[in-house]
Amino acid sequence: MATMSAFHTLRGVSLEIIGSSCNLWRNNVYSLTTKSCRLRCLQSRILRPFSSRQHNPKPTKIPVDLVDKLERLALVDFRTKQGLECLEKAIRFADQLHIVDTSGVEPMDSVLEDRALYLRDDTATEGDCAEELLKLAKNTVEEYFVAPPGNIPLPKREERTAMLRHSEF
């Protein structure tokens, strides 16, 4: 996820790191906007702290129930207040995208967009490896994978903290 990579780059925040990752980002943006958009001044803009910009949106604060919802949907754990702050900083970093004027530019999904999608023939070439696959599972019964009867509900926050304290992490 984009925010996770942003999270890693924020550790030991320094302008050089921001600059180098922005170089990468800038190359992509250039290939995207060959049609229009003036970005020559962007490099210098990024290296200055974001907060002094004029057109920033306000820093996002994440409410507690949104955190709970995200944890339930993505099965991630923000653990402590610091973890949450990291997330908010990562969002702040990504907010820089708002500076760019994208009017008249098509949104880009991935860098593969202009490649041709390969279409495969409808002939069977795979499968028939039940044994190999079943070996990967801890629990099997007669060539079926075994799972609990339904989705196990996520334990409450307090229980989770207790569980994690006793675990290897």
Binding site: L75, L112, A116, L117, Y118, D122, A124, E143, V146, P149
Partner: protein, 547 residues
């Protein structure tokens, strides 16, 4: 609220003292209806009878694409196979595997879109729909939520309605979109050991999801629409449409409202395994919601399952409130491009890498609607007959075979095929292909009747006998049981005379104008001749004798 009711009743009491005229009649009705409802009904509405609650039904249909391999991997697609034997590394979602799109699935989706008059999107995109469940190993399903392959179509369907159920009623349902998506695996719940067994053979099989607008109003319409869709998909060969095998899965979104008002809260009904159950489930749900609303309650937005044993819908296990699927573009798949015609193909492209809409359009087979019209044209039969012919598997071929074996008029044959044959087939729960009476045998029987050797009622008898003893021909049975028509004029005259002589009262009644009594005499003659008299001749002779 109570105060207004008291005031209303006082007013009502006063009004009764006023001389009766139309205005006060209206006023009385107004007061009484608002008193009954005692809720915040706008007064203007109460002058007409409270409007009926009508059902609103929208269907979501998942059709399993009939192909050799799955949507994004090269493992086989088969109905019954040893568990987890048709699973590739991608289907098991092992790290490092990537989706590779199957051309046949794209062609199937385009074909289906064209048959349903959709606009085919030249560029469509794939997305990920995230949710956690054991039968979805990747934790997401690859689907086409933003830009599906086909949008904006129409499904025209008909059903036999009207008072005598012989009127062909045509309706349209708008198709919002058709998208390609992956199927999930199968979970078998083992309640004894409190676990679920997962079989991934079905995981990754290509599905076409057809989303329909809520244009239908009841179970009968929905069943007819699904039946028509089944026929179309089977004719195209894109899906075998067998609901009991899970090749065609239908979920119904049902709500109730009053005409003109906004739509009510809807519930989703799942676990419907046949077209018959679809109609029943929808009708039950509409009735249940109507009862809830009329009692003053509110319908809960929930998912319900249809229980075929009890014929009721029951709430499914709570799905943890509203699901948030966190849709995101599928990063491993570029957009899917289909080309309009050969002229628009980019230079140097390999033929097997291009899906051309024009080519597919030209290759479309005859669709059921066209087939029905053709039968009406070619044979001069009624639309409701051709509807039955196309609706029953193999019946059209049977009818055409009978027509080839005889020179009789189609109109005389069609009744036998759609009533007598179908009646017996349904009674014995047999399909047309297993009918003990072959088209040739039926043709022979009909010719015997046409030629006057047997009466129509005897013909029906013989038909039933032929059904029971498949080896025998009609002629043999007639000979054996001596069922041939008696057309010996002298014999007929004798019997008629006998009946006339022994029933002087009836003869008097006929002579004085009561013609209906003639039928009684005819019945007696038939009884005497064991039903083998030619009714036309008998009637003539009797009329002659009683004039």
């Amino acid at each position: 609220m109570a105060a207004s009711c008291i005031a209303a009743s006082e007013l009502l009491h006063n009004i009764k003292l006023i001389p009766y005229h139309k205005a006060s009649c209206v006023l009385i009705r107004r007061i009484s209806t608002s008193k009954l409802k005692c809720s915040s009904q706008p007064v203007a509405e109460a002058t007409s009878a409270p409007q009926q609650l009508v059902g609103v039904v929208g269907l979501e249909i998942h059709a399993q694409i009939s192909s050799n391999t799955k949507l994004f991997s090269g493992s086989s697609v088969q109905f019954l196979a040893p568990p987890n034997s048709l699973v590739s590394f991608f289907d098991a979602s092992l790290p490092g595997t990537l989706p590779v799109l199957n051309r046949r699935c794209v062609e199937a989706a385009v074909m289906t879109g064209l048959a349903l008059n959709c606009t085919i999107n030249k560029k469509s995109l794939f997305d990920r729909k995230h949710y956690f469940y054991a039968d979805l190993p990747a934790g997401y399903q690859i689907t086409q939520q933003r830009r599906p392959v086909a949008v904006d179509g129409v499904l025209t369907y008909s059903f036999l309605g009207g008072k005598k159920r012989n009127q062909v009623i045509r309706k349209n349902v708008h198709i919002k979109q058709i998208q390609l998506e992956q199927d999930s695996g199968k979970s078998l719940h083992d309640d004894v050991n409190n676990q679920t067994l997962i079989d991934l053979n079905r995981a990754g099989v290509g599905l076409m999801e057809l989303v329909m607008e809520p244009d239908m109003s009841g179970g009968e319409e929905a069943a007819a629409a699904v039946r028509e869709l089944q026929l179309i998909l089977q004719a195209l060969g894109t899906c075998q449409g067998n609901m009991s095998e899970g090749q065609l899965r239908v979920d119904a979104n049902v709500s109730v409202h009053r005409a003109g008002e906004p739509l009510g809260v809807r519930t989703e009904v799942k676990n419907i395994n046949s077209i018959r159950f679809l109609a029943k489930a929808i009708d039950f749900e509409i009735q249940r919601q109507t009862d809830v609303v009329q009692r003053g309650g509110t319908v809960k937005n929930e998912t319900r399952a249809y229980d075929s044993k009890s014929g009721e819908t029951v709430p499914m296990r709570d799905k943890e409130g509203l699901q948030d699927y966190r849709f995101m573009p599928e990063p491993n798949l570029p957009p899917l491009i289909v080309f309009e015609d050969n002229a628009s193909l980019p230079a140097g492209i390999d033929a097997c890498q291009a899906v051309v809409v024009q080519t597919i359009k030209e290759g479309l087979p005859e669709l059921p609607g066209i087939k029905r019209d053709r039968l009406v044209q070619a044979y001069g039969i009624l639309p409701e007959h051709s509807f039955t012919l196309v609706n029953e598997d193999g019946l059209m071929e049977y009818f055409e075979a009978v027509m080839r074996a005889t020179k009789m008029e189609p109109r005389k044959v069609i009744g036998w095929v759609t009533n007598e044959l179908v009646g017996l087939l349904k009674q014995q729960n047999t399909s047309v292909s297993h009918s003990p009476v072959t088209p040739a045998a039926l043709a022979e029987l009909l010719e015997l009747q046409e030629a006057g050797h047997i009466s129509s009622s005897v013909a029906k008898q013989v038909f039933q006998e032929m059904w029971r003893s498949p080896g025998k021909t009609g002629a043999e049975i007639i000979r054996e049981q001596d069922l041939g028509l008696v057309s010996d004029a002298a014999k007929l005259h004798r019997v008629c005379q006998k009946v006339v002589d022994s029933h002087p009262d009836e003869v008097c009644a006929i002579r004085s104008g009561n013609k209906k009594v003639l039928n009684r005499l005819m019945g007696l003659v038939q009884k005497e001749l064991k039903g083998r008299a030619d009714p036309v001749l008998v009637r003539e002779i009797l009329q002659e004798k009683t004039s």
